[in-house]
């Protein structure tokens, strides 16, 4: 029975990753309604339960900026210049669409488990 535990854990991780993929985008769009920079966002995501690797988040931010869901601005007021991102109008609409989708998925899954009991 124990011989399969490692393999089981690996497939479990893969399934969890598959399910979580995409939620990071939604979390970023929601959090960045108030402007934030790379490392602060990384910490916020961690605290809110969307633990993400830095090497995934930083490229993702630039990609969303390129797709015009985020806007950016350099803040040079402090000693360390930082690039601040903010969710754009299009980004807010995308976040709303994704949130609706998430809610309907939640309802769908709830109906599945409701039938079980």
């Amino acid at each position: 029975m124990h011989s399969n535990v490692i393999g089981m854990n690996e497939t479990l991780d893969t399934h969890l990753q598959e399910l979580r993929r995409g939620t990071v985008v939604l979390a970023c769009l929601q959090l960045l309604r108030t402007p934030g920079y790379g490392y602060s966002l990384l910490e916020q995501l961690e605290q809110r339960g969307f633990a993400t690797d830095a090497n995934t988040l930083y490229p993702l931010l630039r990609r969303l900026e390129k797709q015009e869901y985020l806007t950016s601005e350099w803040n040079t007021d402090e000693a360390r210049p930082r690039k601040f991102y903010r969710t754009s109008e299009a980004g807010i609409r995308l976040a709303d669409t994704l949130t609706d989708e998430w809610r309907s998925l939640t309802a769908a899954i709830a109906s599945l488990t409701a039938e079980e009991h």
């Binding site: 990384l42 910490e43 690797d53 830095a54 930083y58 490229p59 993702l60 210049p81 930082r82 690039k83």
Partner: protein
């Protein structure tokens, strides 16, 4: 100052492959992000050097990070092109190496190269062809993958489903085999006793009359065995490994019979060749002289005929095994 050489090296390695206009921005942002992360670790009491190492280690291979920034795939051929690449490669590998091997061997035998040289040259050329096919086909698809082109993509539809393959063991195959074998026997007898070629009202056999009775007897035995095999195959209703083995033995027996007689010069009637040479006149004589290095026109024709027979027999053997494999899967 937390930005030390290690961080500098990391950032340089990351932005090196990015478009020039993005490099400055990514550098500045990464510097700040790394400095923030290192600072957070320092506040928890880590040593500066260890903190920097840990942060950079967590960020991982700069190549992977750069691929993330540039939206570059971290694979050679992705799912979009993989099946197309694999199908094309299989098709080419099925056709080209065999053709190259046959063509090179044929050329070598015609120019009367020693057996060892024929084999080694043919194998080398075939290996080269396989390498070239694999390399260039893959290269084209890698370029397609990276150029993001969708020009080569065709939507799959149900019309592309493969036809159900014939098992080749039915009644029509039996009839075809028996008719073919019957015609062969008829042609042998006709050639010997009535003659496809008549000279002054006399039959001039194409096959050497000295083959009768032993040489032809062996051939007739093989033909009878082929006929029995066709009947057994039809009764069995499907190919099996055992039938494929028998088919291979029969095919090799025929090949050996034909090649031995062909290359010892006992297959074709010398009188017939002399007749052809006489009828060919000056043009033929010139051809003979031109082909003297290769051992004359008749030797070249013998080589071509030998290769033709070998190719046909080879296909027959492969076909039998393919059908046996298919019958076992189906």
């Amino acid at each position: 100052m937390t930005t030390t050489t290690l961080t500098e090296r990391y950032i340089s390695a990351t932005i090196r492959s990015l478009p020039p206009e993005a490099q400055g921005d990514v550098r500045a942002e990464l510097e700040a992000s790394i400095a923030d992360a290192v600072e957070a670790r320092l506040e928890q009491g880590e040593a500066p050097e260890a903190a920097e190492r840990a942060v950079l280690t967590e960020l991982g291979d700069p190549g992977a990070l750069a691929a993330g920034y540039a939206d570059r795939p971290l694979y050679l051929i992705g799912p979009r092109y993989y099946l197309m690449w694999w199908r094309l490669l299989k098709l080419l590998l099925l056709i080209v190496p065999v053709c190259v091997f046959g063509a090179v061997a044929l050329g070598q035998v015609i120019s009367a190269a020693p057996v060892g040289e024929v084999i080694s040259t043919s194998i080398l050329a075939t290996g080269g062809a396989i390498l070239h096919i694999c390399f260039w086909t893959t290269l084209v698809f890698v370029i397609l993958e990276r150029s993001g082109s969708t020009a080569a993509l065709t939507e799959w539809n149900v019309d592309q489903l493969p036809e159900p393959a014939q098992d080749g063991a039915g009644r029509s195959e039996l009839i075809a085999s028996l008719v073919f074998l019957g015609i062969s026997v008829g042609a042998l007898l006709w050639d010997r006793f009535r003659g496809f070629v008549q000279v002054d009202g006399q039959a001039l056999p194409i096959l050497d009359p000295d083959l009768w009775p032993w040489g032809i007897g062996v051939l007739l035995l093989i033909i009878v065995a082929e006929a029995v095999f066709a009947v057994v195959l039809s009764r069995a209703g499907r190919w099996s490994p055992r039938l494929a083995v028998v088919n291979t033995i029969l095919a090799v027996a025929f090949l050996a019979w034909a090649l031995v007689l062909l290359f010892t010069g006992e297959l074709v009637n010398p009188d017939f060749l002399a007749h052809v040479e006489a009828a060919g006149g000056e043009g033929f004589a010139a051809g003979q002289a031109g082909a003297a290095d290769e051992g004359g026109v008749f030797r070249i024709l013998a080589v071509l005929l030998g290769f033709g027979v070998a190719a046909g027999v080879g296909w027959d053997i492969v076909d039998g095994w393919r059908k046996a494999a298919r019958a076992r899967r189906g």
